[in-house]
């Protein structure tokens, strides 16, 4: 593992995939609650 090219950070990608899924689920839940509570104009 002398330099960057030889080191493939697969674990990093795996963790970030989990993070992005969590992000979309949690953010999406809050967003859907917003839609359900209706308009303001």
């Amino acid at each position: 593992m002398k330099n960057q090219e030889e080191f493939q950070p697969k674990g990093t990608v795996a963790i970030l995939v989990v993070f992005v899924i969590t992000l979309i689920v949690l953010w999406g839940t809050i967003y859907l609650t917003l839609l359900q509570r209706g308009g303001t104009v």
Binding site: P9, G11, T12, L16, L23, L26, Y31, T33
Partner: protein, 550 residues
């Protein structure tokens, strides 16, 4: 590498230590009130027992916010940055007296602000929204703390300029670069609150003017209020980028991208303050949307940071024999309390980011504004991502500065885990309550409109707060134990500064040039804030006299 041979002089060590000492005393006092708030939510109000010393929930909440969010952070950060500048540049401060003057200004300011708070003459919380009017000493004191930090910053700039002269053509060492940048960001950011203080709050509280414009004051305040959180966060990022990888036996995955992320923070963290004013009546929706887009864009350097930092950790873990897609995480040195604290801080910071992205999302803020979601969020960011990281840093920095061995590292490790667990319970409940509509900054145990369905979550707030309190006690026990320990370190503690995978000399020169970035940052501020500031100042309505409502 000469990295191991350079050391701070005893005088410099003591100067940095004083910063940390003041920071920790502030945290110790401020943290006392955290569980009082949390217990109150759970139905156990201990404030009556503090009479007549502490007169109300809000005096306690003001102490909690000011001491933890403003004093602990500012003093720890100026101390840590001072250390980074000296150690990173491997040269003493150019004008140490200047830095000392700055530090003493901060102390004078702190004492000035503390007296009215303790006398219940400034229970206006750390956002001090007018027309609530505190004692003038509160405003002048807080201003002096900021001015003092500026003066310390000027000390950094002179030191850095001297280094540039002595080392032409060399790349600035990362920790020094990032520390100077953090200070530049802070000095640009605090212009807003400086104007608020000097043109409104100070003359008003002294009786020189009768009335203020609360809407314009909010705009000034939030010019500073959001980049303020980057002033807290970037020192933690410095540790995650450049120190933590060394502590886990790895290297910085990319020096260039680390610098790019810091430049993007300088560029983007100021011109987005309206995202704290989404539901303000006095700011047009169109400008709020512009700031919403800019707010999303400042999320980008944090996503970049996530990749670079995790990859740096993975590099270290795999060198230590870590395998698998996820299992390598276990190969990180979790037994080192400094590492454990910072990894757990980073893990919860992920969730802080998610909540932040919800707060920041324009109309989604209608759901969350001034609910417990907001303190739930910033207890994951500033109170964990930042604070638990600083605690982790202190687990090596204090032994380095004092020459004493860390007292009971096992307790320190417990401290980190308890903070993590307590914060999950506390913060999760706060987020859920916020979505249900529970207001922040409210003694909910006392509020007549609280529905029964909130009760179980309110209880969790109390339980989480209790666990956090135990963790805080452990932290101060370890710090005091270390300071008074008779066990010296065998040889000077090694400062963890990671090498980069690619030699730093290959970092592009444009990532080490200041003028274009600073000008671009200022230009972006003028574009994003100029028209509204012009409009709001032109239409200023000085119609609000002051109120004392506590």
């Amino acid at each position: 590498m000469t990295a191991q041979t350079y050391s701070l002089s005893p005088k410099e060590k003591s100067f940095v230590s004083w910063h940390l000492l003041v920071a920790m005393v502030a945290l110790a006092l401020g943290t006392l009130f955290g569980p009082l708030q949390a217990f109150e939510h759970a139905g156990l109000n201990l404030y009556p027992f503090l009479q007549p010393l502490i007169k109300s929930y809000y005096q306690g909440l003001t102490l909690h916010g000011v001491l933890n969010a403003l004093v602990w952070t500012t003093f720890f950060i100026t101390g840590f940055l001072t250390f980074n500048v000296i150690y990173g540049l491997k040269r003493p401060l150019r004008y140490p007296t200047l830095n000392q003057v700055g530090f003493w200004l901060m102390i004078v300011g702190l004492v000035m602000a503390a007296i009215p708070i303790l006398l219940n003459k400034a229970s206006v919380l750390y956002t001090f929204y007018p027309p609530m009017k505190a004692h003038w000493a509160y405003y002048v004191g807080l201003t002096l703390v900021v001015v003092g930090s500026w003066v310390e910053g000027y000390g950094f700039y002179f030191t850095y300029a001297a280094w540039r002269k002595e080392n032409p053509g060399e790349r600035t060492p990362f920790i020094a670069f990032a520390s100077v940048l953090t200070m530049v960001l802070w000095q640009i950011a605090t212009l807003g609150v400086a104007v608020e203080m000097l043109t409104m709050l100070i003359p008003w509280s002294l009786g020189l003017i009768e009335t203020v414009d609360p809407q314009l004051a909010r705009t000034y305040f939030w010019f500073t209020g959001h980049p303020l959180v980057y002033f807290w966060l970037l020192p933690a990022y410095i540790s995650w980028y450049a120190m933590l990888p060394k502590q886990v036996g790895g290297k910085m995955f990319s020096d260039s991208l680390a610098r790019l992320a810091f430049w993007l923070f300088l560029l983007l963290s100021v011109p987005l303050g309206f995202h704290h004013q989404y539901v303000d009546p006095g700011v047009p929706a169109g400008w709020k949307f512009v700031h919403a887009v800019l707010t999303f864009s400042v999320f980008f350097p944090s996503l970049l940071t996530a990749f670079t930092v995790i990859a740096s950790l993975e590099y270290g873990a795999r060198k230590n024999g870590g395998t698998g897609l996820f299992r390598w995480v276990l190969a990180l040195p979790w037994r080192d309390p400094s590492v454990a604290a910072q990894l757990l801080a980073g893990l919860l910071f992920f969730f802080g980011g998610i909540g932040g992205l919800a707060n920041a999302a324009y109309n989604v803020n209608l759901e969350l504004h001034n609910t417990t979601f907001v303190p739930g969020h910033f207890h994951l960011t500033v109170a964990t991502g930042v604070t638990l990281t600083f605690m982790g840093v202190s687990y090596w920095l204090v032994p380095y500065l004092t020459g004493k061995k860390l007292w009971k590292p096992d307790l320190a490790r417990w401290q980190a885990w308890l903070w993590f667990i307590g914060m999950i319970i506390f913060s999760n409940a706060m987020h859920v309550l916020g979505i249900l509509g529970a207001p922040r900054r409210t003694p909910l145990g006392d509020a007549p409109y609280v529905p029964a369905e909130w009760n179980s979550r309110l209880l969790q707030v109390g339980i989480g707060g209790g666990i956090l309190f135990i963790s805080a006690i452990l932290y101060f026990a370890v710090m005091i134990g270390t300071a008074f320990s008779k066990v010296k370190v065998e040889k000077e503690v090694e400062v963890p500064v990671a090498e980069a995978l690619q030699p730093v000399s290959q970092t592009p020169a444009w990532l080490d040039r200041w003028a274009p970035w600073v000008y671009a940052a200022l230009a972006l501020i003028v574009i994003a804030y100029g028209p509204q500031l012009y409009e709001q100042i032109r239409n200023i309505s000085l119609t609000s006299p002051g109120f004392r409502v506590w």
